[in-house]
Structure formats: C-alpha cells, structure tokens
Symmetry: C2
Subunit: 149 residues, 2 copies
Amino acid sequence: MKPESALKRFTAFLREKGLRLTQPRSDILMMAWSTHDHFTADQMVAWLTEMDGKASRATVYRTLSLLVEGGFLSSMDNGQGTLLYEHILGHAHHDHMVCLGCSRIIEFRSEEIESLQEELAARHQFQLVDHTLRLEGYCASCQRQRNDA
Amino acid sequence: MKPESALKRFTAFLREKGLRLTQPRSDILMMAWSTHDHFTADQMVAWLTEMDGKASRATVYRTLSLLVEGGFLSSMDNGQGTLLYEHILGHAHHDHMVCLGCSRIIEFRSEEIESLQEELAARHQFQLVDHTLRLEGYCASCQRQRNDA
DNA sequence: CTAGTTGCAAAGGATTTGCAACTGA
DNA sequence: TCAGTTGCAAATCCTTTGCAACTAG
C-alpha cells in the first residue's frame, strides 16, 4: 500500500469516528510509513523534531494509539516496558526473534505454529483475538562476538 | 519442590553470588511459593504487609529480580506495563492465554510449538534463550457474557 | 461557528536508586 | 567486623491527562 492510500484510509477511519485529519496526524502516519524498522514513540518524536514536522510528545502518543486502533500499526512490548511500533502494510502477521545482544529484530512466520495456536485455543474454548510470540536469544553475529570474548 | 528445599536452593544461589539470606528475602520466597497464581510486585507488598512479614516495596522489587535471575520465578508482562510473576516448581515451561474480559490466565503447553520454535531459530542461526507466547482473547465465560449483552 | 486538536506542563503508575542506618555470617 | 541489606524518599522512565489556546470543516 502506498503512502497516499494509507493516508486515504486513515482519513476514512478518522471520519468514521468523527475525528479530523490534521497536519500532525498526517506527519506521523507518513513518518511511520516511511520506516521499515520498529520504532518507539520517542524515536518518532525525534524524527519529527529533526524534520521540523511538528508534533508534541502528547500528540505522538495520541496518534500512535489511533493508528494501532485503526490497524495501521501494530505495537509490541520491547521487554523493558517500552512499546515498539511497526506499520502493517497489508502484510501477513509475523512474529519476532529479539537479539539480547544487539536488540536486532528478526521477523518470521510459521503457518504451523499459527494453526497449532488456533487448535489450542479451540480446545480451551478460548476465542482468539491476537497473539504474541517472541523468541529471545542471540543472533548469529552476536554469537560470534560472545565466543570471541 | 517443597518450600524448605526452595529456600535451601535460594540460599545456595545467594551464597554463590556473595549475597546473604535475610528475613525479608526468605519471607518473599515463601510467599511466592505459597500462591499458585500469578502475582504482581504490588500484591506481594500487600501480602507481606497483611502478614506483618515486613519488607519494603524496594526490597520486594530487589528480591523478585533475584528470584527471577535464579530461576525460582518467571515473569511476564501483563500487557499493561506491569510484571506478573509466578513460581517455577520444576514444572515444565508453559505458555499463557490471557482473557481480555476478566484477565483470567489459562496455562497451556504444546510440544509441537516448542519444537517448531527450535527449528525456526536454528533456521535463522538464532541461539534460543527463552520465549514468550501469549494468546489474547476471551475465555468461555466471558464469551457468554458478551453474547448476552 | 464549534467540536475536535494541540501543546504544555503536571500527573500517573511501575520500577529503580542514593544513602545513611542496620545486620547476618 | 564489615560487606551486604534495608527502608525511605527522591528519582526515572514511559505514558496519560487537564486545560486553555487553536483550527479544520
């Protein structure tokens, strides 16, 4: 999905909720859309400051919440009490491996795990809404460094 | 594992790190060992206060960290920025389904998912240390309530 | 116009830390 | 004895909120 189209969808989403598209909201969406990395609210504030697209910290938090609610972004805990966001490009859901050495994030997807989850939920009469799978460990290059040391 | 034995192991763990077994530490371990539920640091403080086993909030946090480090407790994020602890009784690892309605936690375990995770990690040359799998949704009784409403 | 937005600064909640007074081995 | 502990309060970190001044439609 191209940025313009995301913006259109966002506008529609806002209108449906009786909300308005404003410059800060548009800036934040564009910014989120133009990175392919996971980012924190704080990084978003920094980016906007750099590019003198203005949006206060408060507005960034408020807008990121809206974007998650609207299904434009997903958020995950970084494991230290901070939320990491990433945009959803109509891509299929994926899970994460997080390197304990360099914080690198490797994305992966396993159909088998997905369907096992569904089976398990069904078995417990649990109505699945979402899930999080995080593998923690060391990426190839951090393993080498650790071996050297 | 019985409480006494956990205490022994904890003492050994502490000694190895040049730390001491103290009354607050012992109280916290016993308390953690005597509940079969997930609990927060705050609940632990409340319990200790009730039973006039004294330990300040600071000490509770410091001790819970030690217990996690020593493998006596595991901690997981409750999804709202608070850590939930649970003791490990030499039980096998398990994962969680968290009810979005009533916060109930259902534990489960799937060998198949476990081994798929290992496969995936290996495929990415990722050295697995730990993992977290959380299924979010609605438990059977909350589904009924939602249907009624 | 006017309901919805923004920025600011203050408030919040969870957790951590500095420090001086203790205490277990 | 004396390194390790504790409690307290202050400090942090991330995130949310109250509010008066704006602004999109």
